[in-house]
């Protein structure tokens, strides 16, 4: 049932459903945030990285003698030096290996070749130009198709690697799918490329490594979305004892998936600090960020949909070729090499699907990270929503009606998808109906019919619909791990004698507002005001182990852990309350913040109980009111929504603009509606960017085009559309507070809505696909039947 929940707690307590203002804002609005580059340790040195100017070359020699002559330069470190310590290569989070500093070959433009350690960042960067590297250039492989066809081996150092295939993977059932296609009344196909993009958080990546040469203690300050996992990887890579590694992540200026992997810069800075005995800082430049760390997407997708004579979908086939770059350095769960792409059956009810995926090494930067996305869900959602839209147009049914005809119905949940997911809950018709009503769908269709029917019209209206379903919150330990680390998450809660609390998390905020929303979960469960709860994270010495924040897993997993640990504490509090009230436990009623003896006005507050836990605990009970929980989710959560975009396309110059957009999201129970809305408007803008302007491409020599914010476009306030937001609430039945996660929904769901709007405008002019970004010259070319450069 779709209902909007009224808060159970008072605004002062600020539990679930209150749009309380963010606790973290006070420091940010005063310029008192603690971002990595704000950290300066005594005696700290600075590192700059020499990167390859070419995409594929053998390294004949590196001469760093001139750089060493420069005053202020303390060291130049090359791959050869690291090799002596077994550190020239490191494992990736996807179980591949990646060069820390190149030894044999460089495999992409921008690859790390050497570093300079100097007393000042300007000196370190100056010295880079004094390092002489002799490169012998090799064929640059710049597409996955070329990669699979060539005999040139990119990963020739890798034992047993005889081709350029990084992985293969499949899901679903081929036989039943083939049979459905053989019996289909109509088959609709779509070939599309989801282009390479970059999360590009406004703060780039960086590290300050401080290894104490006497104690061996390594304190590593890092921009990491997953500090605990990184600590373990560091222990494995560097052979450092794990108890002597402390990863500290302070405020992060946005992450979006960019700050999940381990990057060579982190490892070399740590090695340099170990070698020199002083703290070493490395801060990525924007160009380094865009050309070397954490690209996303780059999926070439072939897909087909089988329809029966009643326009019901009966099966889907998809065949994916992903461009992995030089190293398979995504952070995909071990069992899911193409992430959770098999959510590509989307919001639709049909029995058969078969998906195959192959990843190819190319001479491009490694990545494939989940950019604001739960492991390739974005690509999957884009594909099915584009495919369904084209199917609707081909059969001549309104795209919203075609979706409604094929949606999984509310009474079918839990729903087993043909690729094996068990959707926990949903109400797709509800979200669609709400979105149509909000935007005035029928009126827009009428206006479109009128305006577009004029054969001389130069402004065409298009209405784009996308009804996405995500799968987030990795994940149940039987299926989900990264490098063997199960994807549970944790919360530790300490209630102090005065009733104030500290909550320590294994997840890691990057701007999502965890200091506020996680305090609100405790407030909901215990009735302690959210303002009395300090939320801590990002220090591996002082927080419980967790896999971090990405793939919309904070609320589904860490939020669940927070609710469960709060309930554990409430159970103990009830025993304490019974002791204080001299009543039986089962005779107590609970309302947030207070135990009352049934049928009386005798009560104690949670604060009274907390004080008693340290001053008056009963004989036979442990003192204190603290707990820790490691939450292993029983299932993933499945946020969904319907987005509708009205766009106007200028047939003269191919530009298009958004006239109106409605986004109806159902992320289950909303903890802080204000913060949820902020996540959505931000995510919609990142989706708009991809549809409208943004991509990273390469020339035939493997030169990266898109290495700064003048080439890799990020929308400003001027280009960004205005949005209207709506909600339905279908709580997750298995999540302790019914929440599902929302940080990524809009980035996942919106690109197809924007693209569909443009295609919807142009369908009657014979245009059935334009790949993102839907740039003006592509629109113009498609309209005029002219092949244009990409």
């Amino acid at each position: 049932m779709t209902t909007v929940h009224e808060p159970r707690t008072s605004p002062e307590v600020g539990g679930i459903g209150h749009s309380v203002l963010r606790k973290e804002d006070d420091r940010f609005i005063r310029g008192a945030g603690n971002y990595l580059d704000d950290l300066n340790l005594p005696g700290m040195l600075h590192m700059a990285i020499l990167r390859s100017p070419v995409a594929h070359a053998r390294i004949n020699s590196i001469d760093s003698s001139a750089a060493m002559e420069i005053e202020g330069v303390l060291a130049v470190i090359t791959g050869e030096a690291l090799e002596a310590h077994g550190l020239a290569w490191m494992p990736t989070l996807s179980g591949d290996t990646q060069a820390v500093l190149a030894t044999d070959k460089v495999r992409f433009q921008g690859q790390e070749v050497a570093v300079v350690i100097a007393t000042h960042p300007y000196i370190a960067h100056d010295a880079l130009s004094h390092i002489d590297v002799d490169y012998e250039e090799l064929e640059a492989i710049t597409s996955p198709q070329q990669s699979l066809a060539t005999s040139t081996l990119i990963r020739d150092e890798k034992e047993g690697q005889t081709d350029n295939v990084a992985y293969t993977w499949e899901a679903g059932d081929q036989d039943s799918t083939d049979a459905a296609f053989a019996a289909a009344a109509r088959v609709v196909s779509l070939d599309t490329h989801y282009p390479r993009s970059h999360p590009a958080p406004l703060e780039t990546c960086g590290v300050v490594a401080d290894v104490n040469s006497i104690t061996g203690q390594a304190t590593i300050y890092m921009t990491s979305q997953a500090p605990h996992a990184i600590r373990t990887v560091f222990a494995l890579v560097a052979g450092l004892p794990e108890e002597k590694i402390r990863i500290i992540t302070q405020d992060i200026g946005g992450g979006f998936g960019n700050k999940v992997p381990v990057y060579p810069g982190y490892v070399v800075a740590t090695a340099a600090s170990l070698l020199i005995g002083k703290p070493v800082k490395w801060i990525e430049s924007r160009t380094e960020n865009l050309i070397s760390t954490g690209f996303a997407r780059d999926f070439h997708m072939h897909s087909e949909l089988a329809l029966d004579g009643n326009n019901r979908i009966t099966a889907m086939r998809a065949n994916i070729l992903s461009d992995q770059g030089a190293f398979f350095s995504d952070a995909q769960p071990t069992q899911f090499r193409a992430g959770l792409f098999h959510i590509c059956t989307g919001s639709y009810d049909f029995p058969s699907a078969h998906v195959t995926a192959k990843g190819a090494y190319t001479n491009k930067a490694p990545g494939g990270v989940a950019y604001r996305c739960s492991f390739r869900v974005t690509e999957a959602s884009y594909l099915i929503e584009r495919l369904v839209d084209n199917a609707a147009h081909e059969v001549g049914i309104d795209p919203a009606d075609f979706r409604a005809l094929n949606f999984i119905r509310e009474d079918q949940f839990p729903y087993l998808s043909p690729t094996g997911f068990v959707y926990d809950s949903g109400n797709y018709h509800g979200a669609m109906d709400k979105a149509k009503e909000m935007i005035g769908y029928d009126a827009w269709r009428a206006r479109q019919a009128e305006q577009n029917s004029d054969p001389d019209a130069t402004k065409l209206i298009g209405i784009g619909v996308a009804s996405f379903t995500e799968v987030v919150g990795a994940g149940p330990s039987r299926q989900y791990d990264i490098l063997g680390l199960k994807m549970f998450d944790s919360a530790e809660l300490r209630i102090h004698p005065t009733g104030k609390a500290i909550l320590k998390l294994g997840v890691q905020t990057q701007g999502q507002g965890h200091e506020t929303t996680f305090a609100q979960i405790v407030a909901e469960e215990l009735g302690i005001p959210y303002s009395d709860i300090k939320v801590m994270y990002g220090d591996t010495d002082n927080t419980p182990y967790g896999l971090g924040t990405y793939a919309s897993r904070s609320t589904p997993v860490g939020g669940a852990a927070t609710a469960v640990v709060s309930r554990k504490i409430r159970a103990k509090a009830q025993k304490l309350a019974a002791h204080l009230l001299e009543a039986a436990e089962e005779d107590l009623d609970w309302e947030p913040g207070k135990f009352t003896v049934k049928g009386t006005d005798q009560s104690v507050t949670i604060q009274d109980v907390a004080f008693a836990a340290y001053t008056n605990h009963p004989v036979g009970m442990e003192a204190g009111l603290e707990g820790v929980t490691y939450y292993d989710p029983p299932n993933m959560t499945y946020p969904f929504g319907t987005y509708i975009v009205v766009a106007e396309v200028d047939t003269g110059d191919g530009t298009w603009k958004v006239l109106e957009m409605v986004a109806v999201d159902d992320c289950g129970v909303r903890i802080n509606p204000m913060i949820v809305d902020g996540q959505i408007t931000g995510g919609l803008t990142e989706g708009f960017a991809k549809a409208n302007m943004q991509w990273i491409t390469f020339d035939d020599d493997g030169n990266c085009i898109g290495s700064n914010f003048m080439d890799y476009l990020v929308p400003t306030a001027w280009e960004t559309p205005r949005y209207q937001l709506g909600e339905t609430v279908t709580p997750s039945p298995h999540h302790p507070i019914g929440a599902k996660g929302v940080g990524e929904s809009a980035t996942v769901g919106s690109p197809a809505a924007f693209t569909n709007a443009v295609i919807d405008a142009l369908w009657s002019r014979g245009v059935s696909n334009i790949d993102m970004p839907v740039l003006p010259h592509r629109v113009w070319g498609a309209l005029n039947g002219v092949e244009v450069s990409p």
């Binding site: 005063r30 310029g31 580059d37 946005g254 701007g511 408007t681 400003t716 306030a717 001027w718 205005r722």
Partner: protein, 153 residues
Amino acid sequence: MQITVNINGASETRDVEPRRLLVDFIRSDAGLTGTHIGCDTSSCGACTVLLDGRPVKSCTVLAVQADGSEVKTVEGLAEGGELHPVQAAFKQHHGLQCGFCTPGMMLVGSALLEDNPDPTDEEVRWAISGNICRCTGYMNIVTAIQAAGGEGS
């Protein structure tokens, strides 16, 4: 060469390399880390400060160019412990998430409101179009700046 820059009312005299960027002077020499660096190409505006009252991207100004000038950074927005209306409005209207662009956005907003206390949505968007935010989608930033204007007028 020796320069003197008045930052948030305090005079900073330093010997700097001619090539030293104003943003590095502010962050490293004056120790005011509220001004951020986001792109190095004057595209993102995270390093925006007010130079003699005008917003500039301090990654594209040499420190020596600021000799004898007054610079206001985010740390100088609040006066006497009292938040500037723009600061209060950014919190009130959820105009920030990760906080990295926020100092630049607030300074541009404050400069806009000096000239135009009641800007339209379009006027705010144009004013902040040199500043990138990756988190919010801008709607709440625009609302915050407009609300701060309403408060001041």
